[in-house]
């Protein structure tokens, strides 16, 4: 059997075993599915050896599995299949480098887990450069045994940063909306989960539509739109305490599309009580509204630039929706998009250089990324046909977006180069409106 063939088969095997594991496990409502959209020639090969457990009861989480899945999803790494890991060193002194060179691995991760008492677990890991036979990282975490997935994501983040030079974003959370049931019997839930879709928690529930969740920059709150009053209204909810406040609820017109300022003190929204949807900035503490746009068109989907001084938003002032940029103090808006008949729902990378958007051509709506540092070149990262709601990870290495499978909504995570795509599926209902949260603080 030739090498690529064997690789394909073992990749299939890992996919099947992943699905099987999740169906059997406690999170039966969920499954993950890695889809390799194109070749991964540029991905760095890395082996993650199962961590040795020193005493204690069997653990609910295989830390190495979680790290491996993170790496594969990123598109930057190709982790050696578990089945191909023939040796299991847990200390640097036990590593036989020839074995890992033979397996064509550039990096090797090993680790060990010990009971730290009082329900705490101590996880130690080491990252080795296989060719140089050099230790690159040796760190430890002490955490509650229930947070092993969180520890695994943090290890993946540190390794990712060590090798790529870019901060990892695996230990982050995502928000999304699910709709379960049919027509008048639909229940909408706003959910917060780990970046890989695990540990879903319901933040808000409604019999009417919920949409446009937006993370506060410190990750403690979500702004979102609810139709529970019969009309759209913008709420801000504290994720930890559940306490909630109404931010915009004009009885006339739309109150929607919240986006946080980088300092978390303001929300940009789209309000139409003035006659048609216009962008406003609301001071969260005082609720003072400042109008930004003044135009007969639909102006919506604002997002702050990283410096907090401008807004990029969707407007159909030229006939069809396109992206525009304007100062937070208003004035003239500059049109940013010219390719495609429909450009909307902007999401900015942390450095403001890349703008992800929904680009529509005919009946095909795909996620496109415009690179402002490359003369506004546009690349597609999703196949269509009704893709929506792109949301960059805080390090801009990946995006979440909503797509449709049959008549049901599903979420995808895609690497920013579009090469690796992963689907997050819930067992029932429709999933939509993904939003990737900020980095977490330990």
């Amino acid at each position: 059997m030739n090498q690529p063939m064997r690789r394909t088969i073992s990749r299939l095997a890992i996919l099947v075993s992943l699905v099987a594991a999740f169906v059997a496990g406690p999170v039966a409502a969920q499954s993950l599915n890695v889809e390799i959209a194109n070749g991964l020639k540029t991905a760095t090969p890395i082996a993650v050896v199962p961590f040795a457990q020193q005493g204690g009861a069997p653990l609910p989480t295989d830390v190495a599995d979680v790290i491996r899945a993170d790496f594969n999803r990123s598109g930057k790494f190709r982790s050696l299949d578990k089945a191909d890991i023939v040796e299991a060193p847990s200390k640097g002194a036990d590593i036989k480098f020839a074995t890992w060179r033979l397996l064509k691995q550039d990096y090797l991760t090993i680790g060990r887990i010990a009971d730290a008492g009082g329900g705490m677990i101590r996880v130690e890991y080491e990252l080795w450069d296989v060719n140089r036979q050099q230790s690159l990282l040796a760190q430890s975490f002490t955490a509650p045994s229930g947070d092993l997935r969180g520890v695994a994501h943090q290890i993946a983040d540190q390794i990712y940063e060590k090798i790529t030079g870019v901060r990892g974003a695996f230990w982050t959370r995502i928000a999304y909306v699910t709709a379960v049931g049919v027509s008048n019997n639909t229940t909408y839930s706003l959910i917060v989960a780990d970046s890989d879709g695990f540990n879903p928690q319901v933040v808000a529930r409604s019999r009417e539509s919920l949409l446009s969740p937006a993370w506060s920059p410190d990750g403690s709150k979500l702004a979102y739109v609810s139709f529970e009053s019969g009309n759209s209204a913008v709420y801000v909810q504290n994720i930890g305490t559940g306490s909630r406040s109404l931010i915009a609820s004009h009885p006339k017109g739309i109150n929607s599309a919240p986006a946080w300022s980088p300092d978390g003190s303001k929300l940009a929204v789209s309000l139409s009580y003035v006659g048609n949807p216009e962008i406003f900035i609301i001071d969260v503490a005082s609720r003072t509204e400042t109008r930004v746009t003044n135009n007969f068109a639909i102006d919506t989907e604002p997002t702050f630039t990283p410096d907090g001084q401008s807004l990029i938003f969707t407007s159909d002032r030229s006939g069809k929706p396109q992206l525009y940029q304007t100062s937070i103090s208003g004035g003239n808006a500059t049109r940013l998009t010219f390719q495609g008949g429909f450009n909307a729902s902007p999401s900015l990378s942390f450095d403001g250089k890349q703008i992800a958007m929904v680009q529509g051509n005919g009946n095909v709506y795909r996620i496109a990324i415009m690179d402002r540092s490359l003369g506004n070149q546009v690349r597609f990262v999703s196949p269509g046909n009704v893709d929506d709601s792109p949301s960059f990870a805080p390090n801009a290495s990946m995006l979440l977006y909503a797509a449709s499978q049959g008549t049901r909504g599903v979420l995808y995570a895609v690497s920013a180069d579009g090469l690796v795509r992963q689907r997050l599926v819930l067992s029932d209902g429709d999933v939509r409106e993904p939003s990737w949260g900020p980095y977490r603080q330990r």
Binding site: S209, L211, S212, F227, G230, N231, S232, K252, G253, I254, S256, A257, S270, S272, N276, P277, I298, T300, E301, T314, D316, P321, F342, A344, S345, V358, G360, N363, Y365, N385, V386, D388, S389, S404, T407, R432, E433
Partner: protein
């Protein structure tokens, strides 16, 4: 095998179509007697609509205005509906309507909220032009949040591009 299935399907479709025609044929003769009853018992209404007409009048019972793709103009074939609802609003000054604007699934959720509102506003303007007053009218946009049909095709999209006329006071 395939042919048999196709023929069967075709036959079923034909039966369905015939059944539909029959239904319409049955409906139409039923309506005039109902209107007569109203006329006979309500001599003092002076041609003004009453709340009961919302359930019986052939025009008032139509509560959906459909739109072309990416358009928010009220098409001529819906002028009759607009006219009778405007007359109802005039006849019953205490009545009120909520106009619920909806779109098809194409495009983003937030942008579609705007489009749904434009359609709601278009019907509101048409009702006002025909005699309804602004105070009786409220527009709510649901964008693509409340589809009546979930397939990804033209037929389905055309059913979802609509404004629903909902009486909040009769």
């Amino acid at each position: 095998m395939n042919k048999t299935v196709r023929v069967t399907l075709a036959a079923l479709l034909c039966v369905g179509a015939v059944a539909c025609h029959k239904k319409q044929e049955v409906k139409q003769p039923v309506q005039p007697p109902v209107q007569q009853t109203v006329d006979n018992s309500g001599n003092n209404t002076n041609g003004k609509y009453q709340p009961s007409d919302l359930d019986t009048d052939a025009c008032l019972r139509q509560r959906v205005v459909y739109f072309d793709f990416d358009k928010n103009e009220v098409k001529p074939e819906f002028q009759q509906i607009v006219a009778c609802h405007a007359k109802y609003l005039q006849d019953r000054p205490s009545s009120a309507i909520s106009l619920e604007g909806n779109t098809d699934e194409r495009g983003t959720r937030e942008y579609n909220l705007g489009l749904g509102e434009r359609r709601g506003n278009a019907v509101s303007s048409a009702l006002q032009a025909a005699g309804g007053s602004a105070g009786q009218l409220n527009v709510v946009s649901y964008g693509k949040e409340k589809p009546t049909c979930r397939e990804h095709n033209d037929d389905c999209w055309s059913k979802n591009r609509r404004v629903e006329i909902v009486y909040t006071a009769k």
